[in-house]
Amino acid sequence: MEGALLQVEQLSKSFGGLRAVDEVSFSVREGEVYTIIGPNGAGKTTIFNLVSLLFAPTAGRIIFRGEDLTRLAPDRVAGRGIGRTFQNIELFEHATVLQNLLIGRHARAQTSLLAELLFLPSVRRREVEHRRKVEEVIEFLDLQRYRDSMVGGLAYGVRKVVELARALCAEPTLLLLDEPSSGLNVEETDDMAFWIEDIRKELGMTVLMVEHDMSLVSRVSDRVLAVNQGRVLAEGTPAQVQSHPDVIAAYLGGATP
């Protein structure tokens, strides 16, 4: 598709005999919130891990801003402008929130080892720059009071926000959110919805997310892709997908072809 930021073509992934993702194609336009939904075990997180290149696909291509990323090393993805969060939170537990967010900027760090060992003025300048950017994110997500707290001691809801903040610190073009509302209470989910809207409007980032909470999905998403057993069931606006007979069958059971 023309004008697509991310284009996934015929993506497949097998684990042994299990086809977790089976020829899935979709494309995400610049500036939209695109959500992947599906029942448990549908392959949503696998698609995510494929797009962030943690898994190598069995077949298919991932094209981001016109560049084929399929064979790229996983640590290069951040540098290309793709940031992500994890379903079960993968923060750096024995570090402070501030340190976590600064690590989030690693892809934008360009100082040499020698300069760092001597902490030359160039390193200092860049560090201040990173710190300023991180502070903007802290302000954006209201994390001021946790700035110097150890992540290991934070409540689950706060960690979830810290992880989002860490992804934002890299200033990605495309943000991948793996179940941003899982484990959050109603109020926190509400906050998350606001932030996702703000991320799109104020920061101009494109969001690709996996989500279970349908109220959140229909509130923030422009388009939704429903998958089941590794295959695409339907694509369209939240309302279209929710009323699609195959999607209803996949969630509620019943006569599927």
């Binding site: 690590i103 900027r105 689950y156």
Partner: protein, 358 residues
């Protein structure tokens, strides 16, 4: 309790938290500068050992405490540094040329041993580094034309340029500069992107990768830097001990290094130094305690090993953050008095831990 009002981002980058902390370090520096002129020579020697072990502590702490990679082969890096220094100085090289080569050789060995670390974790990495330690020990014993084998070799007094250092006091200052310099470099590294990448690898490799950290590159780098620092300690060690032989650099020394940083407190540079103080002072304390103990116990062989082991077990059980963690608690108790709560340092358990199976 003191609160620091931060008005500029540079304040987060300072070496010392505030003027008071810097003041205490100045006091420490003055005390250390005066020490050799005030203390009897015996204690100066003990301080030199603390410096050398402290440098090893920094090196191993960077690798094990900050990058999360275990090593049971650090005695081998010490040995490489010590032998390189001894051999080069015997051939007339000055310290300013021989020490960098000793550091570089150890660092190269570190990079080589770091390569399997890219695929191994935990206990398997421990075994790989252990094997490396044995290999180096064996090479030192067999390569007689260079290392004089098991009979060991004498090390000439340290020559900074052309003349040998006149006194133990001069050597003391060389070691003091070495540990202070190492501390500064390591501290600089830890407040830079590279140090943060190490911490990221320690806490979550998968998410470090997603942040753009190249695991292979940073793990090898950590091994290299850690080994290089240990090599520097080795070079100083050779001069301090004056005679080196392969049986000084066994697995037991490597284990002692690990115990040192565990007792000192994993994940803190202060811990590395406190651990070194502990390791050097413990035999002294035992010697003193022997006079007070019943003769049956005092004359037992292996008393030192038993007490060492006991200390490690007690620390792991009751104070996993080591001596430094204990110090932080004591300091907090005083600054919050009388408001200190018993559970202040208890970590909140996250309820998803069981799901993650690790």
């Amino acid at each position: 309790m003191r609160f620091i009002l931060k008005t500029r981002y540079e304040q987060d980058l300072r070496l010392f938290r505030d003027g008071t902390v810097a003041g205490w370090y100045a006091v420490l520096a003055l005390a250390l500068l005066a020490a050799p002129f005030v203390l009897p020579e015996y204690y100066t020697t003990q301080l030199v050992f603390i410096f050398i072990w402290g440098i090893v502590g920094f090196g191993l702490m960077l690798l094990a405490g900050f990058t999360g990679q275990i090593s049971l082969g650090h005695a081998a890096f010490l040995a490489i540094g010590a032998y390189a220094e001894a051999i080069l100085q015997a051939r007339g090289w000055p310290f300013f040329a021989s020490a960098p080569i000793a550091i570089a050789l150890s660092a190269c060995a570190g990079v080589v041993i770091g390569l399997p670390a890219l695929r191994l974790t935990g206990i398997y990495l421990a075994i790989a580094t252990l094997a490396f330690g044995f290999i180096v020990e064996e090479v030192l014993a067999r390569w007689e034309s260079v290392t004089a084998g098991n009979s060991g070799m004498m090390v000439p007094p340290l020559r900074l340029f052309l003349e040998p250092l006149g006194s133990q006091t001069a050597f003391y200052f060389v070691c003091l500069v070495a540990i202070a310099g190492t501390a500064l470099l390591v501290r600089n590294l830890l407040r830079s992107p590279t140090g943060r990448a190490f911490i990221a690898i320690r806490d979550s490799e998968i998410s470090a990768q997603s942040m753009g950290v190249n695991l292979a590159r940073y793990k090898t780098m950590s091994f290299g830097i850690s080994a290089g620092i240990t090599g520097l300690a080795g070079a100083l060690y050779a001069h301090q001990i004056r005679f080196i032989s392969p049986e000084q650099f066994t697995i037991f020394l490597s284990i002692e290094f690990l115990m040192m940083i565990v007792i000192g407190g994993m994940g803190s540079l202060h811990g590395a130094v406190l651990g070194a103080v502990f390791i050097v002072m413990l035999p002294e304390l035992i010697a003193v305690a022997k006079d007070w103990l019943p003769q049956v116990i005092a004359e037992q062989t292996g008393l030192k090993g038993t007490i060492f082991g006991l200390c490690v077990i007690l620390f792991v059980l009751f104070e996993p953050m080591g001596l430094y963690g204990r110090w932080v608690k004591v300091r907090t108790w005083f600054s919050l008095f009388p408001l200190y709560k018993a559970g202040l340092f208890k970590r909140q358990k996250s309820y998803q831990k069981s799901e993650r199976l690790r």
